[in-house]
Symmetry: C2
Subunit: 207 residues, 2 copies
DNA sequence: CCGAAAACGTAATATCAATTACGGATACGG
DNA sequence: CCGTATCCGTAATTGATATTACGTTTTCGG
């Protein structure tokens, strides 16, 4: 199969998986269902991906790419650092609590070998962290935040933004978030950061 | 079986499960393994708990009790609100990222019916939230925090304390936390709260 | 156009763990 | 002390799904 066709086919297969996820969550993604939905054969799935974990690993990689793309596009907007932080926060939170991320997390839990977990960790490190770092550096340069401790600030911001929403989502303690909740949370995280890391605040060494 | 004996037996069974969890994590907890380890029969397990989810549900309940007990004991100590917040934070974080909580979370993920998820949510609401609220009220009364918005403060504190550690732990992105990391995180959360909710700070309406 | 390699669709196999069944041992109320 | 209800240990059953096998069809380089 020509490489071009092959890439197309890979995309179709992964799209099929995402469709299954949207419809029935992680539990709906069986190899049989994927094959039927994508019009591919089981033999092909195993030839290309090795096993089910491999399939999800490639999903993680693709998802990381998409996240990076989306965040980069947003980071390129011409808005002030405050608005930017809010904007990025909303996008990020929306993705991380959405059905796809939930399914990928469930897959990592089900894996057990830690393989998918590592992939997820790597995706976060490579796709999300650098972008967030960029935004914070810009905010610092713009006089909104202290110039040192940008990493701490980014870390605190992510904690406030995401908190325990992901684990609660994955364990079924809560359902999908509504946009208002997302917006409120993003604002709260941003405003807290602005206070904690104000350039000339009375912050102690720790803040 | 006399009720007294029965309670004893229930405890033995649940202890057996925790032993299995410590040794091999959630995946090691099969009904067979539980029966053998506890010296109980499968028939008895099913008679008493209904099914595997029921078994874990009772584990969640018991765990909630133990958490409540431990936190209450700590909350009774004669220390200032600042030290108290740090102390409670460490205990809480230690438990929530420990092998038992991880296993219970994995069970909730594997459940799918949402039954265990609801149990976990209820446990958090009933066992953890009230204690935290008490501590924050005391801190407010002691002049450390603003008198209004205690609930927000508690929520922010928990987000900062726990963040995404649980999901990363459950997905295998990270291993057990070492005590130093726990201590550092607890302090960071406390200090942030003190700054954000200072009684006479320049905090806006949101903080 | 030809033939091999790859892909398709379906059926078969393998595995793992929950759940159920059952014969023999035990406990306990009367 | 006895009979019955409960429990124990082990084996059988069941269900779901990942993984493999295979005959047929399609694709594609030569």
């Amino acid at each position: 199969m020509r490489d071009e066709k092959r890439q197309e086919r890979l995309r179709q297969i992964e799209d099929a998986i995402y469709a299954l996820i949207e419809e029935g969550g992680f539990e709906a993604v069986t190899m049989q269902a994927v094959a039927k939905r994508a019009g591919a054969s089981l033999e092909t799935l195993y030839r290309w991906y090795g096993d089910k974990v491999g399939l999800f690993r490639s999903l993680v990689d693709r998802n990381a790419e998409e996240v990076k793309t989306l965040l980069t596009a947003n980071a390129a907007e011409e808005v002030g650092p405050l608005a930017m932080l809010d904007r990025i926060g909303q996008r990020l939170l929306s993705m991380l609590t959405g059905p796809r991320a939930v399914a990928l997390n469930k897959a990592a839990v089900a894996d057990g070998s830690g393989d998918l977990g590592r992939a997820l960790a790597g995706a976060g490190r490579d796709a999300v962290a650098p972008l967030v770092a960029t935004v914070f550096k810009r905010a610092a340069a713009g006089g909104i935040l202290r110039l040192d401790r940008e990493e701490d600030a980014a870390d605190v911001w992510l904690s406030l933004l995401i908190g325990d929403l992901q684990i609660r989502r994955v364990t079924g303690q809560i359902g999908p978030l509504d946009p208002n909740a997302i917006a409120a949370r993003s604002l709260r995280a941003r405003d807290a950061i602005v206070l904690l890391y104000h350039p000339d605040g009375r912050s102690s060494a720790a803040f």
